[in-house]
Subunit: 577 residues, 2 copies
């Protein structure tokens, strides 16, 4: 490829709205252009990256015997009525009407349509297992699209859907996808983790996210550096930090804590460690039939944070909860927030203690009186045992892993997700097949997504420096760029550069020859911004010394190599990039 | 590829709504499944065809130095306000609102967005020429979608847009695309014609359609079998069939023609050839300022048909016309339709004669009196010369080509279109670049479409028989299918079939091994329906005789070939399919 026949248009400045580095760099490098909020044109350089990602994904899906098809972007609402998601899905689901005022949606995902296809196509157990996938444009009408390709409205996703006879077989399909995903992200060349994830509202029993490790990631990953364990913060089990409850040593005392409405202030005023304090979080639930409100008091150690996903799994809270209003708090505790506690509440509340709180003794908590806390509280002696003990908190770095070792935390960007769905959709849409006994049985499903365009952004979040992007070779728009110094001036330079280009291209290398004849500084800056992994510089001065310069994007210095050795050297170096 | 790991699901019956053969066969072969009216899922076999077409298109576009990018499916309305097409485009343009009630469209084509990109990306003449293309899902909300992929609502299109400094350079870009299209359709393996076409409302000076020849096509192509000439019926110039006007030999006579309201009936009643009659077509135009209506009388020979596109090019009719109402006709001619003519009209009308009519003498036309026609009418003698002489009619087969030879007509399916746009969009959207003199100049544009999914349907309309589809090799879902007789029963059959499969696959052949072990009749019928160009049948009986059978889809009989020669034979035969 020659630059003069291509379109390269880098920008000095990123748009003001670009908050994250991948958005800034993809715009500056001319890889994306905004068409509307969260909607981008993939410019030629950006599309090359996308195509390379798609190719790897396609190859590995095919290798795993998944079968590619292509479902439409515009899908009929009827299927979404059937599954119930027409109602359940929020405004992210873009609903539209055709000229005959019939309802359609722009697919955010395709469970409904593929289940419809499956119930028409699959008749017998003999056809199973089956796994269909497609790589298609998706649309999710985010309220506030931002972060470029990290959270766009229109984006490219690979979604696969497996169909099996039973759960054991479905587990096999799940495992095959898990393995395919491991191969995909390894081939792409990113540092990533497969992370156990919450199954959330989709239900089912298993789910893993594939997270690209990056400090700018939105997700928190809990992992054990010494083992295979990794889980999303939402799911990661937090251990009880106290093996057993110590014998009480203090009396319960009502202490004045004026203005200390937070555990940190209480601890400071009373000169006690924060780990002696307990924070009170008040939730409310409504009984769907009686419409009566119940109040819940969740207790966490002062230095711990509530994990709402975990709270939503406490018996009685599964149907949904909200934080209590100040009025409800006043009515229940006879006190303003900030000084609440489980001792002597005005009305009955359900007390749920975090595992660690349940084993604390001589602890400090609000006295249900403004500006007062109790010290020396002990379970059983000063108040009844908690109604329930549960894992309510986020893991913190340094927490012991019950299986041994210590837990650590890092940030990640979710680029893939595998999900065991069971019969959620096949049941709602009556997707059955005939079993060996001739009786219809529900298809067991799994779904498996990869954010193709998001991977491009995540790769940049993980791999960049002050000069620009540093692409892993497998998804770089070009693997090698040849920068001739003085293209028009020197025939020797021109011939050498062209010969190198042709030789590399012949060997299957994706090589760009920059024949734009711009000044070296501008040319180098362009390719450093664009992030091509390897650069060859050809100049008259070097050629007189019998060398060209080869420099990897991550290297500070170039290597001087004889032109005749350059091709072999480049081929060798590429394999490690 | 093994059939047991693939999804093959043929149907005995096509859906009742499938009116055309491509729709019927693609559905029966399991290549498409309807998601909604005009919206289809491309099933695995169908998607393979699509991907092969896309690949050829992409390779030839790249070869022509067009640069691939990807514009979004959902595009902001603002750009369409600018171009004026938000108003002009009919209900085929699907307009939608996002959650913030902002207007968007689903792209039916991308002139607006690419012009927006061009005005931001192109600064200088040094960057020109540039040609951007994308292969992307399009949506056109057809009122009555039908004919399967021939006229779907959601479909895949390749659209390219060229940008040039001036018209001469733009002409070069146009020619390069024309040549690329010739290569594309040749490689796909279809019988096609490049046909001069009307530039219609888009304006500009040049346009060619690429038409796949098929009796079921919607378009009429006029061509000269002895020359390169080919044009769409809309555009094809119809010659004057009379070199000069003959001397009058009859007197004008008012003849009684009771009930003969059509030329055919008049000719029969008067026992005169149809070619002696002239038909009157009455049009109306409205003056935009005065709102006054003008009446136009168009005259065509009795056996000829009006070409409305040509009529719309007559001076005074360019701004639009309609057929006159019966009241208007009564007021102007004092007569009911069926007996109208240019002699003695009640009020003034503009008389436009087709070229042939202008040279007729002693002709027959309505007498502006119910049940009466004049015979022996002659221009100049019985009525003034026509106000205007124009080409108003459709060509008919047998018309002489003014350049020599005779014109013929065939039907075609439009699968590609190249268009010189000039500055239509760059002017409306102020897309300029800086010329050598430092002054801004408007970009000269061309646009170039290929209906990817439509090609699949057109290929079938052209290539099928009673058994099913006959794919050209280049876009067949598989090039070769191996049909083993008794896969489970015979190890020899299994080994031979597998060895053939592996050997062909190794040589890059797209080969399917049907290991489903269905009965031969069912297996053969499946692959004949699906249309794989070459079949190898492996059976115990044949192997005992030292042969396998090789049969092209178009052949009635199989060839018996030694297994050891099969691979070489298949490779040789494939190159001619």
């Amino acid at each position: 490829m020659q630059a003069s026949k291509y379109h390269i248009n880098t920008l000095k400045e990123a748009p003001a709205e670009a908050e994250v580095i991948s958005h800034q760099l993809m715009t500056r490098a001319g890889m994306i252009r905004k068409a509307a909020g969260g909607i981008y044109t993939y410019m030629p350089l950006g599309l090359r990256v996308l195509h390379k990602i798609e190719r790897i994904v396609r190859e590995e899906m095919d290798r795993a015997d998944a079968i590619e098809l292509l479902m439409p972007m515009v899908q009929p609402a009827e299927l979404w009525y059937e599954s119930g998601r027409w109602e359940q899905y929020g405004p992210e689901l873009l609903r539209l009407k055709d000229r005959h005022q019939r309802d359609f949606i722009l697919q955010p995902t395709s469970e409904e349509l593929i289940t419809d296809i499956a119930r028409n196509e699959i008749h017998s157990w003999r056809q199973l297992p089956l796994n269909f996938y497609h790589i298609q444009t998706k649309f999710r009408d985010e309220r506030r699209p931002r972060f470029g390709l990290m959270r766009g409205r229109e984006f490219t996703m690979k979604d696969a859907y497996s169909f099996d006879r039973d759960e054991a077989s479905a587990q096999g399909s799940y495992d095959a996808m898990y393995d395919a995903y491991m191969r995909i992200f390894s081939r792409i060349g990113l540092e990533f983790r497969a992370v156990a994830a919450d199954t959330g509202s989709i239900g089912g029993t298993r789910s893993h996210e594939f997270q690209v490790i990056a400090d700018t990631g939105e997700d928190l990953i809990v992992y054990n550096p010494e083992s295979q364990y990794a889980a999303n913060m939402e799911l990661a089990e937090a251990p009880c930090l106290l093996a057993e409850r110590a014998t009480p040593r203090e009396d319960m005392v009502k202490a004045s804590t004026p203005g200390a409405a937070k555990c940190e202030l209480v601890a400071r005023q009373l000169d006690r460690p924060l780990t002696d304090t307990v924070k009170s979080i008040v939730l409310a639930t409504e009984n769907a039939e009686t419409r009566e409100t119940a109040i819940w008091l969740l207790l966490l150690r002062g230095d711990h944070e509530l994990n709402e996903i975990k709270a939503s799994k406490v018996p009685g809270l599964e149907a949904g909860f909200r934080f209590a209003t100040e009025t409800e708090i006043q009515e229940t505790f006879g006190c303003v927030p900030g000084y609440l506690g489980p001792v002597n509440t005005t009305r009955p509340v359900k007390v749920i203690a975090d595992r660690t709180v349940a084993n604390m003794s001589d602890f400090i908590c609000g006295a249900n009186a403004a500006d007062y806390h109790y010290t020396g509280i002990n379970w059983g002696r000063d108040l009844p045992e908690p109604d329930e003990v549960a894992d309510l908190r986020n893991v913190v770095a340094g927490d012991p892993d019950p299986a041994g070792g210590t837990l650590a935390i890092q940030r990640g960007i979710e680029v893939g997700h595998v999900f065991f769905l069971g019969d959620k959709y096949s049941k709602a849409m009556n997707a059955t097949f005939l079993e060996t006994d001739g009786k219809p049985a529900l298809l067991q499903m799994g779904c498996y997504g990869i954010g193709i365009s998001r991977i491009a952004a995540a790769a940049i979040e993980q791999n960049h420096d002050g000069k620009g992007i540093i692409w892993p070779r497998a998804i770089a728009p070009f693997e090698v760029v040849i920068c001739p110094m003085g293209w028009h001036k020197s025939e020797t330079v021109r011939n050498t550069a062209q010969a190198l280009h042709d030789a590399l291209q012949e060997r299957g290398v994706d090589v760009m020859l920059d024949d734009r004849d711009t000044r070296p500084g501008i040319m180098f800056a362009d390719w450093e911004l664009i992030g091509v992994p390897l650069r060859i510089t050809v100049g008259d001065r070097g050629l007189k010394d019998g060398i060209v310069e080869v420099q990897a994007r991550r290297e500070a210095e170039a290597s001087r190599i004889a032109p005749d050795d350059a091709v072999a050297q480049v081929m060798a170096r590429l394999s490690s990039l």
